[in-house]
């Protein structure tokens, strides 16, 4: 297993073609705009070497029996599913942002489950290929990015009907030794600081979209792969100093990028789906289930940070005992722990798939994520409320350090005794970073938008069973348990009751 520093050094061996703000970035590792994201991913490596966190951060490989980073593990039990979300919360607490590596973990698990099922039906050998690939991932402790979402273009049209053929990633040519692929994947988390890319289809494909039913893995710097790094709220503040960024060590959200594949060759041993369109739904839903469950871990870890920061600011401002402040902080805690309960529940209610890997409870995972799409906004709104208007009007670090303005600013921003003004500004900047920026829409749309969760919830809610419950209680359908209790047929019972009450009137006093 690599540690954090070794991970960063390993990125130097990659030769990625990355563009940002109209320029080619020569060194990913040395680029100040990318460094916070790299530090965050490095935390997933570093904590695996820390005895205080190894129980959560590492696992035993079911392929080799060796100790591996949990981010390369295939879940072998309910306990693994629970530890996975504990790991998410822990890393959210340690970084205050998205640590990127869970997408690859979920991709590994979803492809593992689906390739097994494809082979069962078609007699293919995708699962064996994938296990060989997984061995490489575990041995090298790679971070693969999980590339699912395509550019999608006109969403009323199927992938094969799009105006530009590269709107969705697809097979251009099938060769004896592999396939040639082209297309685009959008907002891929951690893409520029990953060793590998695992691709998955973004939606259910039909027979006409056979060439779009595609999953494979390639090195991140494979020939023909180009990255365009996305903009984030206040991102160039990183070039203005240390203070204004808010979370200069770990940044804000995951560092997303567009990935363009242009005539990329993928050898067959790294192809895990090539045309089996009837399994695209399984792959998408399996991945989405894993990924949606994570949000009740990582975002709650972030909530722990922002709740702590809000309470600290309330103390610094001398208002920590005001009843409305206590009430708001309590609300924030209750919402965060509600989401945590959801993710624990969907892990504990998980199940063993045919492949032997464990999957979360899909209905509860979607409920988890749907709560996140609402509650993150709400607890961040309360954080802004508690912190006060200063979070959006603070002077810049340069003005704080300018001899002309330094003294008056420092004095006026001083809080209660024992809270240095610069520390107060640091904390307010952190709350600004976490509650005003890109983290909010990321909580909304990451792992799928609320509508996607509602579709899954409606599909899996078992509404017919609920109607039957209501019919039994209402007396429309037979209630065998009630008949057990009364020791006779229900109709006969009510006829007897009617006879007994006949002629009786309500006593009015």
């Amino acid at each position: 297993m690599m540690n954090g520093k070794e991970y960063i050094d390993s990125l130097r061996d990659l030769n990625l073609e990355v563009y940002f703000l109209g320029q080619r970035i020569k060194s990913i590792v040395d680029e100040p705009m990318f460094q916070p994201h790299i530090h965050t991913a490095a935390m997933t490596y570093n904590l695996a070497h820390n005895p205080e966190h190894q129980e959560i951060m590492t696992a035993t490989s079911h392929l080799t029996g060796e100790r591996i980073n949990r981010f390369t593990h295939i879940h072998q039990s309910i306990d693994d599913l629970v530890k996975k979300v504990r790991m998410m919360r822990l890393l959210g607490q340690k970084t205050g942002t998205c640590f990127q590596r869970c997408v690859g973990l979920d991709g590994l698990n979803a492809v593992y489950v689906t390739t097994y099922d494809i082979d069962q039906k078609h007699g293919t050998n995708y699962h064996e290929r994938f296990k060989n690939y997984l061995l490489e991932v575990q041995k090298n402790d790679w971070m693969p990015s999980g590339a699912m979402t395509d550019a999608r273009g006109d969403r009323s049209l199927r992938p094969s009907k799009q105006k530009h053929p590269d709107t969705y990633l697809h097979i251009k040519e099938r060769l004896e030794d592999g396939i040639i692929v082209s297309g685009m994947k959008a907002h891929i988390t951690g893409a520029i600081n990953s060793h590998e890319i695992i691709t998955m289809p973004t939606r259910t494909m039909g027979e006409e979209d056979r060439d779009f039913a595609l999953s494979f893995a390639i090195p991140a710097d494979a020939k023909g792969v180009t990255y365009i790094f996305s903009r984030q709220t206040n991102d160039t503040r990183r070039l203005d100093g240390v203070l204004d960024g808010g979370n200069p060590k770990y940044g804000i959200v995951g560092g997303e990028a567009i990935i363009i594949f242009k005539d990329v060759f993928v050898p067959w041993e790294r192809v895990f789906m090539a045309g089996e369109y009837e399994f695209t739904n399984e792959l998408v839903e399996t991945f989405a289930g894993y990924h949606r469950s994570n949000y009740g871990g990582c975002k709650v870890g972030l909530a722990d940070v922002v709740i702590g920061g809000s309470n600290w600011i309330a103390e610094a401002h001398g208002i920590e005992r005001a009843s409305h402040i206590v009430d708001k902080l309590t609300e924030m805690i209750a919402m965060a722990e509600t989401c945590w309960s959801c993710t624990l529940a969907c892990s504990y209610e998980g199940y063993r798939t045919s492949s032997g890997a464990y999957h979360i409870h899909p209905l509860l995972a979607n409920v988890t994520k749907l709560n996140i799409t609402r509650m993150v906004y709400e607890w961040m709104r309360l954080a802004q409320d508690v912190a006060g208007g200063k979070i959006i009007t603070l002077p810049s670090e340069k003005d704080l350090e300018n001899p002309e303005t330094m003294e008056i600013l420092t004095e006026c921003f001083a809080g209660k005794e024992g809270f240095p003004p610069r520390d107060i500004i640091k904390m307010l900047r952190l709350i600004e970073n976490m509650s005003v920026g890109a983290g909010l829409p990321e909580a909304m749309h990451g792992a799928g938008s609320p509508a996607a969760q509602k579709i899954m919830i409606a599909r899996r809610s078992g509404i017919d069973k609920k109607m039957e419950l209501a019919k039994i209680i209402a007396g429309i359908h037979k209630d065998k348990y009630f008949e057990n209790i009364i020791g006779k047929d229900e109709t006969a019972h009510w006829n007897e009751v009617k006879k007994k009450i006949k002629g009786k009137k309500v006593q009015i006093y």
Partner: protein, 118 residues
């Protein structure tokens, strides 16, 4: 070939174990009722039993959902246990729509009792 008498002369026994039924995706008792009726129709006599103290030829685990609480208890405790596990709309590793579970189950039971290893 098995040295056991054929099904024509031998009444196999099946132990039924229901999970607690907190939020079942299937009507568990209906599945079993239909399976019993189906077995009767094809003339196969089976001794069904819910008493946990009585040893049976096989055990039928009726889990209401994929989580399969009963699998945590039975197969893990006794690795030699012969069982069929229904987990919501899964029977073993196969997805089966609720309405088709009884006929699928009947086939599994017949296959199991006709297999040479039995």
């Amino acid at each position: 070939m098995s040295d056991r008498p054929s099904l024509a002369y031998y009444m196999p026994s099946i132990g039924i174990r229901y999970c607690g039924g907190c939020n079942p995706q299937i009507d568990r008792s209906k599945v079993i009722r239909k399976a019993k009726e189906g077995l009767k129709k094809i003339g196969l006599k089976v001794d069904f039993c819910t008493d946990r103290e009585i040893t049976t030829d096989i055990i039928l685990l009726i889990n209401g959902c994929m989580h399969a609480c009963l699998e945590e208890e039975y197969p893990r405790k006794d690795k030699t246990l012969r069982y069929i596990s229904i987990k919501g709309e899964m029977v073993g590793r196969q997805y089966v729509e609720e309405d088709h579970i009884p006929e699928f189950l009947i086939k599994k039971i017949v296959d199991l009792f006709n297999s040479p290893s039995h």
